[in-house]
């Protein structure tokens, strides 16, 4: 299993993601600096969270024009898998590798909290097919622009093609604030047409040890990686 984690100036979840991947695969992922143009053959590229280029102009916009993006596109066209978490999701959208847009949270506030995700019925995907539909995972979010927005047609298409990976779900008796950012249809993550590119706002790499409050992130990442190995 060959994995890699991209690093842009301002990435700040790269270390956490590297640790999580190493814990699962036993091998330290390759670090891909944003200026790199040559990328070896890989099974999974992860674009981690953070504030690439300070989130200036639009989140992910400046990163999406970095040299490394071309290699990521090549990797995808070879059928490679890509996971974008938080800022990584924003970058995938800005690079037009996923549809829609991520706009400011409805309350216009940065939000860091636990969220509950429900696995949706998706097309065949290494990221979702290892879970039963309806499985829930508790994974935290931490972002300012995670409010997924797209035209009605795009949303319908995503729903129809089974490209919604997970939605925010009500936690216990918390009826009002379970959707942390106002995302349309409570969307927390979406897939590419072939199911091999996933963008998600929650941070699985932050819940891989009991002391962090749970291990659902580990469950999610290791299930995905198992699927990729198969």
């Amino acid at each position: 299993m060959r994995t890699a984690v991209t690093i842009f100036p301002g990435s700040n979840c790269d270390r956490d993601m590297i640790i999580a991947l190493k814990k699962i695969t036993g091998k330290t992922p390759i670090k891909l600096w944003h200026k790199e143009t040559e990328v070896p053959n890989l099974d999974l590229i992860v674009i981690p969270g953070g504030f690439s280029f300070g989130d200036y102009l639009r989140c992910g916009a400046l990163a999406a024009r970095s040299p490394i993006i071309k290699s990521i596109k090549n990797h995808i066209s070879r059928g490679g898998a890509v996971l974008g978490v938080c800022n990584g999701f924003q970058i995938l959208i800005e690079a037009k590798l996923l549809p829609g847009s991520l706009i400011k949270n409805q309350k216009l506030l940065f939000t860091c909290k636990e969220t509950l995700l429900e696995i949706q019925n998706t097309l065949e995907s290494p990221f979702c097919s290892g879970f039963k539909v309806g499985t829930t995972l508790e994974i935290p979010v931490a972002h300012n622009e995670g409010n997924f927005f797209a035209s009605k047609e795009v949303i319908e298409k995503l729903e129809g093609e089974g490209r919604i990976a997970f939605k925010y779900k009500q936690i216990k008796n918390n009826k009002n604030n379970y959707n942390p950012n106002g995302s349309l249809n409570d969307i927390a993550g979406i897939l590419s047409k072939n199911g091999r590119v996933l963008g998600m706002m929650p941070h699985p790499e932050r819940v891989i040890n009991k002391f962090q409050g749970g291990i659902d992130g580990l469950k999610f990442l290791s299930t995905s990686i198992e699927q990729l190995i198969d």
Partner: protein
């Protein structure tokens, strides 16, 4: 030449910031206003000899990076040097 680029959200795109400002203005007692839209303005100088070249470069910049054309429109104004 001085180039002024105004970038605004396309119609129908949710604008939480605009909404929040509208609410705040109402709460502060402002009335008689409507249709508030918030946009970005990018001002720069582009040194080319003729206006059409400047426009071309500005256009190019908008398409490649400055605007997200999925949700944003842009408008370019050029002030020719006197």
């Amino acid at each position: 030449m001085k180039v002024i680029i105004n970038i605004s959200l396309k119609n129908g795109v949710l604008d939480p910031e605009g909404q929040a400002i509208e609410n705040s203005l109402l709460n502060l007692g402002f009335k008689d206003f409507k249709n508030i839209r918030i946009g970005k303005q990018i001002i720069l100088n582009i040194d080319k000899i003729n206006k059409s070249e400047v426009l071309e470069q500005a256009n190019n910049m908008c398409e490649t990076i400055l605007a997200n054309t999925v949700i944003e429109n842009y408008k370019i104004d050029i002030l020719e040097d006197k």
